[in-house]
């Protein structure tokens, strides 16, 4: 983090670095598209989508320390909200600018509804109850096709409207400066803009009165209460904020995929999102971003192993799918052993896991 520290002290270098990063991110889909193929642009889109999703969970788990294993429920609520209001299912086709805040708002309400009964629970107990709530939502979605067909049950909802803002359809290919921008490219820039916004909001929240209150609740709930923090409200706020991020990414997921079914919102999905947050470093925004990139990109990259085996050895010895899970499991174990606070831990987590390393801060040197 010393590099970042230097940048903070030198605003000009910071702007240059920022501009370079922006240019790189703007060109990234074209680099990926031409070097690795169009499917990789789609993977980039998913990276951005999952960053938004994981940063939402990061508020609940990382900032406020509430272990939520049912987070995918909010993703589902946002996705279904969008799908029901912008598809032939009910024949409703609301515009995108109305759907996005609506999805965030409705998920937010669900966040509070699920958060409220779990307020007295902590740690493992909270994890189990949220896990249950997550499953309840999925099962509801799966069964709400009778007696009145709302969600179309396990068949899911099809032909969901793609994003369209003021006549600009993200689904169609647009031609600009002699370059073709097809749907995955359009969505990339939309997601990039929204991800930037989500990162910005996360950073601002973390470094604020609210962020400090979350950290206090995470550190010692009784002391936080005694210091006058209304822990009920502050925890509900964390659930609501996290859920609304999840709702937004759910809506985008719906529009991007054009099809959703309850199958996309299983427990394993919750666990994957949690893994992204934990692997990268709970509570640290850069860490979460890294965690998402690794967990979305690596499995895709491992797909190349099958063809590589075929070419080199004449036949496929290890099924790439098995290998993916094997490497995934191994990677998680290694991270937990060697970097228990995550790959890029937040300062607070780093402190927690390095409590014995006390020498320098004894003299009041900022850590």
């Amino acid at each position: 983090m010393s590099g970042l520290g230097k940048l903070k002290r030198n605003p000009r270098a910071a702007w240059v670095a920022f501009a370079l990063l922006a240019i790189l991110l703007a060109l990234l889909p074209f680099l990926a598209g031409s070097l690795l193929g169009r499917s990789w642009v789609r993977i980039l889109d998913f990276v951005l989508l999952y960053i938004m999703l994981a940063l939402g969970l990061n508020i609940v788990v990382g900032f406020a320390g509430l272990l939520d294993l049912g987070y995918v429920a909010f993703f589902a609520v946002g996705a279904y909200m969008y799908a029901l209001l912008a598809s032939p299912q009910f024949g409703i086709h609301l515009p995108f600018w109305a759907l996005l805040p609506l999805g965030a708002g409705v998920s937010c309400i669900f966040g509070v509804l699920i958060g409220a009964p779990t307020l007295r629970l902590r740690g493992d107990y909270l994890a189990i109850v949220t896990l249950g709530f997550g499953e309840i939502i999925r099962i509801f979605l799966n069964n709400l096709d009778a007696p009145v067909n709302i969600t179309n049950g396990p068949q899911g909802i099809n032909n969901i409207d793609p994003v369209s803002i003021g006549g600009f359809s993200f689904y169609q290919t647009h031609r600009l400066f002699d370059v073709n921008f097809s749907s995955v490219y359009n969505y990339y820039y939309l997601f990039l803009a929204l991800t930037t916004l989500v990162i910005f909001v996360s950073m601002r929240l973390q470094d604020s009165r609210i962020g400090r209150a979350w950290a206090a609740v995470r550190e010692d709930e009784v002391a936080a209460k005694a210091m006058g923090i209304n822990t009920r409200n502050i925890k509900l706020l964390a659930f609501a904020m996290g859920a609304s991020f999840g709702g937004v990414s759910g809506g985008l997921f719906s529009a991007f995929q054009g099809f959703i079914s309850p199958e996309s919102f299983t427990l394993i999905e919750s666990i994957m999102i949690l893994c992204m947050v934990v692997l990268g470093g709970m509570g640290n925004i850069a860490g979460v971003v890294l965690g998402v990139v690794l967990l979305v990109v690596l499995p895709e990259a491992l797909r190349y192993i099958g063809p590589a085996e075929q070419a080199l050895l004449g036949r496929v010895f290890v099924d790439p799918d098995d290998l993916r899970m094997l490497i995934f499991g191994l990677a998680l174990i290694l991270v937990m052993l060697f970097r228990p606070a995550g790959l890029l831990p937040s300062t607070i987590r780093k402190r927690e896991f390095a409590a014995e390393d006390e020498a320098e801060s004894q003299d009041g040197i900022p850590t």
Binding site: F200, V201, R204, L205, S208, R209, I210, G211, R212, A213, A215, A216, E219, D220, V222, A223, A224, K225, A226, M227, G228, I229, N230, T231, L237, M241, I348, R349, R351, E352, A355, E358, S361, Q362, G364, I365, P366, T367
Partner: protein, 254 residues
Amino acid sequence: MTLLEARGVSKHFGGLLALDAVSLSVQNGEIYGLIGPNGAGKTSLFNVLTGLYSPDSGDFFFDGEKLVATKPHVVAERGIARTFQNIRLFGNMSALENVMVGRHLRTHAGVIGAVLRNARTRAEEASIRSRALELLQYVGIAAHANSLASHLSYGDQRRLEISRALSTEPKLLALDEPAAGMNATETAELQKLLETIRHDGVTVLLIEHDVKLVMGLCDRVAVLDYGKKIAEGTPQQVQHDPAVIEAYLGGALA
């Protein structure tokens, strides 16, 4: 003028009567000591007063009004701040951040303010920070502002807890054994600090085992034994009360 009054406060845990109709009153501007053998119910009284437990019966009156709330944050809002017998700091936050958390109650910035970081929010953040620094100076640990709370020495952690409590702008500061584990020098410094705090207009309610500290500091003392108040008065009066001697030394000697 009475700042805090407890009327017949009782609390039991299962078969154990931790507080048995305890009544006491703390005057504005005094240092009021609460002593008694281990298990006498001193900390239970603190926990009931600050809303961590709800009493089975009895009432508290604070600053002229009934303290109806059973919620800790409302109690803090009314102006009662406390420290804990087994220090409860936010260990992985810096000393400064710990005190800044105490300002939560008296500040207002919400999510919108945090995200937009408008002029008002920035001004509020700046005032939170400067007030927190002032308080660290006040208790004498400003040099450790950026150290982790868990890395501070034991005495400094106690001081940090006091400054965190003070940052909620209390009228009554309730300290649960602030001198526990301190050496003689630290205790003397603590005594000076508590006198300054009282001088600056904060009433102090003190649980303490250090008899020298209690006798030197407190204006009045109440003695609890098995959940009952057995004596109340100036330290000198209490010291010679036969019931108190019996509670501490046993019946045979009294």
